[in-house]
Amino acid sequence: MIRDLSVFLVYAVLAVFAENAVFTRGLGVSRLIRLVNDDAIGTIQFWVLLALVELLTAPMGFFVLDRVVPGLPAELRLPLRPLLYLGCALVAYLMVLAVLCVLPFKHKLRLLRTLPLASFNTNVLGTLIICSTQGYNLVEHLGFGVGTSLGYLMAVLLVDEAERRLDNSSVPAIFRGMPITLVYIGILALAIYGFTGHTITL
């Protein structure tokens, strides 16, 4: 039990820092750039939904290839992977949707509008594919999933703060907005690359 807990924590920390989805693999970066500029979507609300979907899809993603469709021919496993993992995301989406519909939440409509964006994106699908490619077990799957969503929150907060600070006259006009944000993310990615010291597996 303690061993599992420590494995969970190690993989969660790995996904937050050394293998941060945004800074090392660029997963969800298009959504991130739109998220920090979009007042209609709350950062925390998006993150809570993303974390729930990541947590729910992690065990499903672990079981779906080996237990649900074990007899799948080897040549079809790779092309069918996105469809099967999207199926997991759909189940997670419906579960969260059911909870949102039943329980009395503040800003319910806003959450309902944000839920599809948090459920079907490169971050969720990318995490499942990474875990499958690396051959993670269930605990590692869960730890990496939770860590990825925490890492995404960290990236959103860092970029959000940077956008606020970089929106001033000392930044050349042609760099304001997306260009300077990309350069900033690149510098942070470089720092993480220097910290880990190796290229991640694609």
Partner: protein
């Protein structure tokens, strides 16, 4: 005194429409709208990867948009959020087998950036819109988005390959003692290079838009 009229003239409307529909330069989906950044920043490190990414996009983007519109017409636009990614994932199965036939094991160079194309905003961003487009419009916009994204993918792939290895399509062009910018084929280099090109692109697009708008005022 006459009230100030903010309604654009027909000439200005035509210019605005021209800017909106120019997905290659003035309203490029990558440079202006920030779509499809993940594969470009990480996997688009050489001309070979760029060609594979473009081929994958060509097989996924237009069919996904057109077929989803066909299904949404039947469902009365219900389920648009879910249908776009699922349609892309369904089309991905034959597309992957075809790509594997064409490129062989080189396809593995794209890693997870090939399967995640099915949820990439370049392909499914239309699922956020509540208004259903026509099949003809889906075809036209799909093709123009594909062309705009392809230009950027090829440009970035060529630039990164040259800076990181001194080659273009694996042919040595630069024979210096050290490579120009080895960082260019890392994700961090991809972000920085894309940011720099994006700034220049937006500046050039802004100049062209201003020129067109001024032309419309004079008409």
């Amino acid at each position: 005194m006459a009230a100030h009229n903010n309604t654009p003239s027909p000439a200005q409307m035509a210019i605005l429409q021209r800017i909106q529909s120019d997905r290659i330069f003035m309203n490029n989906p990558v440079m202006l709208q920030g779509l499809g950044l993940a594969p470009i920043v990480v996997a688009d490190t050489s001309c070979k990867n760029a060609v594979m990414l473009i081929a994958a996009l060509a097989l996924l983007l237009v069919p996904t948009r057109v077929l989803t519109v066909a299904v949404l017409t039947i469902t009365g636009n219900r389920g648009h959020y879910v249908l776009y990614p699922f349609m892309a994932a369904l089309i991905y199965v034959p597309a992957y087998l075809l790509l594997l036939e064409i490129f062989g094991t080189d396809l593995l160079l794209l890693g997870l950036y090939l399967p995640i194309l099915v949820v990439d905003p370049l392909i499914i961003s239309r699922n956020e819109r509540t208004k259903l487009e026509s099949a003809t419009m889906a075809l036209k916009q799909g093709l123009s988005t594909l062309m705009g994204a392809s230009v950027v993918i090829l440009l970035m792939g060529a630039l990164r390959e040259f800076l990181a290895t001194g080659c273009l399509f694996e042919h040595q062009l630069y024979f210096g003692a050290t490579n120009l910018l080895p960082l260019a084929n890392q994700p961090s280099g991809g972000f920085i290079l894309l940011g720099l090109i994006c700034a220049l692109w937006r500046y050039a697009a802004g100049v062209k838009k201003l020129h067109l708008t001024q032309e419309a005022v004079w008409k």
